[in-house]
Symmetry: C2
DNA sequence: TATTGTTATACTCTATAACTATA
DNA sequence: TATAGTTATAGAGTATAACAATA
């Protein structure tokens, strides 16, 4: 069916966003599966590699997850030797999550596959359109 | 934290899409809660009101849900007298889902609140930008 | 044989509250 | 008192397979 058979029955921006996200998420999940990663754990790994050295609290906010969910995600990555927890010396309550060498390596290879899957999903748009979409959607995603 | 404190750590289009969707979904869920609806059931109700007279199978494809999930959603709406199931005379396996008068009425009032919530979420963009976003995202959501 | 709807089940994800250690 | 992380648990959502009715 899809748009052609049924037409734009629902044209709410939020519905289109939800459906596009479902399409994109499915492709990313499939690309990550061979690496034992999911979109969530992949995102945590990405943040663990950032110069910002994020705490779990920051990861939770950035990914819009409950802190308790981040515990489980980091537990999993840590048990596989992909990230490490370090107590922040300036605030001993906080734990900074950093990627290991193995984590960085896995992220590099998995990331290539994710970007490939992304090119397929967003390939219906040309380069300029993708840039435009990124700019617009970023403002909705991070309304500062 | 958000973008300002942490910067654009992850700039994947798929990640931005996921986060924007989370923002939008949260607003829509909150707007629908007083009506006993969720984004999913609201979408089913919207489809049940369409001229297309969709079968459950078509609803499942359009919303990217498993047919068995549509059963549960329609069960709920039907038990509340908002939709009805009619056996399609041309294919007696299929069940067409149509909204009742009560369903149409609820959709009208709930829809107004959803659109209000949507204006808040997408209000960071001006009218032309929203139209552009809709056009771009529609092609990703329905790659025909 | 294939498809629509249905049921059942196991699994994942989500939401919430309570607890600890630090601040 | 408040915050970061953790644990536990219940609820919602998801995926899968099997089945009956119809094609």
């Amino acid at each position: 069916m899809a748009q052609t058979t049924m037409g734009a029955v629902i044209d709410d921006l939020s519905f289109l966003l939800a459906r596009a996200n479902a399409v994109s998420l499915e492709a990313a999940s499939a690309a990550l599966r061979p690496f034992g990663l999911k979109p969530r754990s992949y995102s945590v790994l990405a943040l663990a590699l950032s110069d910002h050295r994020p705490s779990q609290r920051e990861i939770a906010e950035y990914l819009r997850l409950d802190p308790s969910q981040v515990v489980a995600l980091v537990d999993d990555l840590q048990s596989r030797g992909l990230v490490e927890r370090e107590t922040d010396p300036s605030d001993r309550r906080a734990k900074v999550v950093t990627a290991t060498v193995d984590g960085a390596r896995l992220f590099a290879t998995a990331g290539a596959r994710v970007r490939q899957a992304e090119r397929e999903v967003f390939g219906v748009l040309d380069e300029a359109e993708r840039a435009m979409l990124r700019k617009l959607i970023d403002r909705v995603a991070f309304p500062d």
